[in-house]
Structures are given as C-alpha cells and as structure tokens.
C-alpha cells in the first residue's frame, strides 16, 4: 500500500480523510448510499404489506441468477435482473392462485425459494466449484465495486424510486386495506404484481453489492424500526430511508477500521437499533 494505514485516531477529520483516501472505499460509500436509499423506501412498503418472506425469497433468487449467468457466459448483471424478475412473476402466480389460503401460499413461496437455491447449487457445481466465487455471490463484494457499476446502480435506483413515487399513493391504500381499495376501484392485483417487480428490481441491484443473503438486512430492519416509531406514511418512509443510510455508512466505516466484514457490521448496527427502539416503545405498545 502506498498510503500508510494509520488506524483509528481520535481526530474525526483525519479519520474521515482516511476513510475516503482510497477510490474503492469512495465507490463503496457511493454504492452503499444509493442502495440504502432504494432499499429503505421499498422495504418500508414490504414491511407494511407483510411480504418479508416474499422479499427474502426474491433476494435468494438472485443467487441462481448470478450463478446461471456465470455458467452460461452472459453478463452477470443480466442474470440478477432476469432471475429476480422471473421470481417476482412466479411469486405473484403462486399467491394469486391460492387467494385466501395463506398457509398454502407460504408453502408455495418456500418451495420456490428452495428450488431456486437448489438450481443455484447445481449451476455452481456444474461450473466446477469456484468456492470463493460462491461466497461472494452469497455474501457480496462491497469493496470491489467499479465506477461504472455505481453509475448503473444510480440509474436503476432513480427509476425504481420514480416508479414507486408514481404508484405510492394507491399502493399505500391497497396495502393498508385491500378490501376497501378493491371496492373503490383500485386495481389491487396489478399493484401487487408491480410492487413485486419493483422489489425484484431493487433486490437484483442491491444483491450485486451486498450479496444474495444480505440484501434482506437492508430491506427489512430499517423499515421495521421506522414502523415501530411512527405509523404515519410520510415520516415513516423518510425515517426508514434515513436509518438505512445511517446503518450503511456506519457499517462501512466501522468495517474499514476492523478486521471483520461489512455485512456483519451493517446487520449488527441495524439490529442493535431495532432492539433499542423495540425496548423503548414496549410500554407504549401495551
């Protein structure tokens, strides 16, 4: 290394300078910011709609997508988006076919998920067992991001957030009270499919940075914390995005100064916040 690594000092300005001294770290912070803003907003709706299980399933579907694309020799990003999009269609199919039977629906989601992971494992073993590759597919390469990846990510995030803003109001209505929304002419089935597709887009973009298994942390925990604090949609959404940004920045910064991985720090900071908020709001809830 050309620049010396001084470790953590008590001077916050020099620490900040050190944090941004390497381009890989700047890109990680940029990508983390984009991903957190997108995941915080989409995640808020996901938690509101009680679709955490579907969200997790979509995020693991990213793994066979990436593994399959590697095997077929096509761009990996294409595999991520393709697999997550197909996953969203499959999920919407199984949940529409079994309306009203919650328990069978969740069995179907679980089956889709396990089958997708099985396919992913098949692709990896046919490819010839690049084990290190397998781990980065599952757990991400936060610190190996290129400038062009950041740019693509930015466009995807802008598109996702714009689409979310467009359907936000009816989606909120349909999520809070599906029956009344349907009765007053809101196309709930179309909305629920488009939400799953948006979720898939966000997951596919995020999974390339955080890995297939950890997308879920950014989607669910900040949103769950925000919904514990306020039930009002506007402040709740803002809080969810704010929390997602804060835990990503904190996690990345701590990871820079510690020997342990980013994923661990991001999830631990956000889970710690969630537990604190849960304890603090416990009395009011009763």
């Amino acid at each position: 290394m050309s620049t010396e690594f001084a470790g953590l000092s008590w001077n916050p300005v020099s620490d900040l300078e050190q944090l941004t001294a390497y381009p890989f770290m700047v890109q990680a912070l940029e990508a983390g910011t984009i991903v957190a803003a997108m995941a915080g907003a989409i995640g808020w709706f996901m938690v509101l709609r009680r679709q955490a299980f579907a969200g997790h399933t979509l995020s693991v579907i990213a793994f066979p997508g990436a593994a399959g694309a590697t095997l077929a020799g096509i761009p990996v990003a294409l595999g991520y988006y393709g697999a997550c999009g197909l996953g969203a269609l499959a999920l919407s199919l199984v949940s529409r076919g079994e309306r009203g039977r919650i328990s069978t629906e969740s069995a179907a989601i679980g089956t889709v998920q396990a089958f997708a992971l099985g396919l992913g494992f098949l692709f990896v073993s046919v490819y010839g067992g690049q084990l290190i590759g397998l781990q980065s597919l599952l757990f991400g390469t936060f610190l190996g991001i290129t400038a062009s990846q950041v740019e693509t990510l930015l466009w995807i995030a802008l598109a996702t957030l714009a689409a979310l803003a467009l359907v936000g109001r009816p989606l909120l209505f349909a999520s809070v009270d599906a029956e009344v929304a349907r009765a007053s002419g809101v196309p709930t089935a179309v909305l629920s499919l488009s939400f799953l597709l948006l979720l898939a887009l966000a997951v596919a973009a995020t999974a390339q940075i955080t890995g297939a298994l950890l997308v879920f942390a950014l989607l669910v925990t900040p949103a769950a914390t925000a919904q514990r604090l306020t039930a009002r949609p506007g402040p709740g959404l803002a809080l969810s995005v704010g929390l997602a940004l804060a835990v990503t920045w904190l996690g990345l910064s701590i990871a820079y100064f510690s020997p342990y991985p980013v994923g661990f720090w991001v999830t631990s900071v956000s889970f710690g916040l969630y537990v604190l908020v849960r304890l603090a709001t416990r009395r009011e809830a009763r």
Partner: protein, 275 residues
C-alpha cells in the same frame, strides 16, 4: 447402487430426516410458520460456522443455535407465534453473524474453510459416515416421535387457539415445544440437505399434502410420505446423473410434487357475469 456404503448411509439418514421434515413441515405450513422455518434454517448455518470457527463439533453449534433462536423467537411473539417482521429482523442479523464467523473461519484455516461452508449451506448427505448416519437417523426419529406425541393437542391449538385455550390446553407451551422440535429437525436436516435447501423439505411436501386433502391426519401422513419419496427418488437421480448434487435433486423432486398437486387441483377461474 446400494452396494456402495455411502449410498446406504445416505438412504438411512435421508429416510428418517425426510420423515421428520415431512411431519414437522405439515404443522409448519398449517400454522403459517414457513418463514420461521426459513429463518431457523439460516440460524443453523450461522451456528455451524460459529462452532467451526471456535473449533468445536459443528453439530453442537447447529443444535444450540437453532434451539436457542427458536425459543427466543417464540418468546418474542404472541402465543409463541412470532410475526414476520420480528423474524425478519432477527434473521437478518443472524445472517450478518454468519458472515462474521465465515470470515473468521476462512481466515483461520486457509483453504478448507470454504468447503465446510459449502457443506453447511448445501448439505453433504453423500459424505456421511456409518456412525453419523445412524446418529442422524436416531435423532430424526426421536424428533418425529416427539411430534407425534403432541400431535393431537398441537393440531387443535393450531386450528383454533381460542377454543383450545378455553378447554385448558397449554397453547403457549405447545407453540414453544413445537418450535423446539422444529429447531432440532432443522439442525438435523442441515447435515442432510443443507441449511439453504431444508426449507424445501419442510414446505413442499406439506404444501402438496395440504392441496391434496383437507383432512389433517391423512395430510400429515401424506406429507411424510411425499418427503420420504422425494428423498429416495432424489438420491437415486443424483446417483445416476453425474454433476447433479443430492440436495438439488431431492428439492427438485419435492418441488415437482408440489407443482403436480397444484396443477391437479387447478380449475379454470370461474368468470363472474357482470350484473
């Protein structure tokens, strides 16, 4: 095929693990706790890696982690049925811990770490020794028997918790006991089909059985039968087809049986005539 010792071991362990998964899975689906099963399977991954990083027996880590988290989740939720946001938050953190242990373990043991992680994630049923297979079969059988022992009151309290409480059934204790059995099965199945694939053995046979019959006892038996059948067929397929991992084959057959059950029940949607 059965002339090979590793195939006999795989069939021995696989049969009983699948039996336990099919039985427990039926209740998992009935109680709407598939997401909890999903979370526990990832807890198994973290537990195993923690044990590996600490240099103790992986199985110890598996069982301690899954049972502790299952009881913790049960304590957090109403009537020992935690809601999905709570599960999701705990689960995300457990994955983060898994990454931590993975990095400690891989850095500490230069090379072999990756292989252990893959074994935990995707199972290694074809790599069991004779003793391990017998132990796996015995634990799975014990879990299945424990479940059958509480099956009747558990079924009642799953279908109608209010009435069950009214006649004096310990609904909360049953829920916790069920989560503990689920944890044992998840830890055991992790060794057979892997942490990431065991959800398929829990959800797919049970989902298929629920689609085929509404009668609970028949469904329970059917679920166990489909799970065991999928394992047998899956193991045979992976023996015949090179490169097809056993876990993928088993889950593939189970998923196919679910899809067949869904197709068999499918009727064209009746269009409502506009008034």
């Amino acid at each position: 095929m059965l002339a090979h010792e590793f195939m006999r071991n795989a069939y021995l362990a696989g049969t009983f693990v699948a039996l336990a998964c099919g039985l427990v899975g039926y209740f998992v689906v009935l109680r709407g706790q598939v997401f909890a099963g999903d979370a526990l399977s990832h807890v198994a991954f973290t537990g195993a890696l923690a044990a590996a990083a600490a240099g103790i027996d992986v199985r110890l880590g598996l069982f301690v982690a899954t049972i502790a988290v299952a009881l913790g989740l049960g304590g957090l939720g109403e009537r020992a049925r935690p809601d999905d946001v709570t599960i999701g938050s705990v689960f995300a953190w457990v994955l983060g811990l898994g990454v931590l242990f993975l990095s400690i373990f891989v850095n500490g043991s230069s090379g072999s770490g990756g292989t252990t992680a893959v074994r935990v994630l995707f199972g290694s049923i074809l790599g069991l020794s004779g003793g391990e297979a017998w132990l796996a079969a015995a634990i799975a059988l014990a879990a299945a028997l424990a479940l059958v022992a509480i099956a009747r009151p558990l079924l009642f309290s799953s279908l109608d918790p209010e009435v069950a409480r009214g006649i004096g059934l310990p609904v909360r204790a049953l829920g916790l006991g069920f989560l503990a059995i689920l944890a044992v099965v998840a830890a055991e199945a992790t060794q057979a089909v892997g942490a990431l694939l065991l959800l398929g053995l829990l959800a797919a046979p049970a989902g298929a059985a629920r689609l085929l019959t509404a009668r609970p006892w028949l469904g329970l038996g059917l679920s166990a039968a489909i799970a065991v059948g999928s394992t047998w067929l899956g193991l045979a397929l992976s023996y015949e087809i090179p490169n097809l991992p056993a876990g993928t084959a088993v889950i593939g057959v189970a998923a196919a049986s679910f899809a067949l059950a869904a197709l068999g029940r499918w009727r064209p949607p009746v269009r409502r005539v506009a008034a």
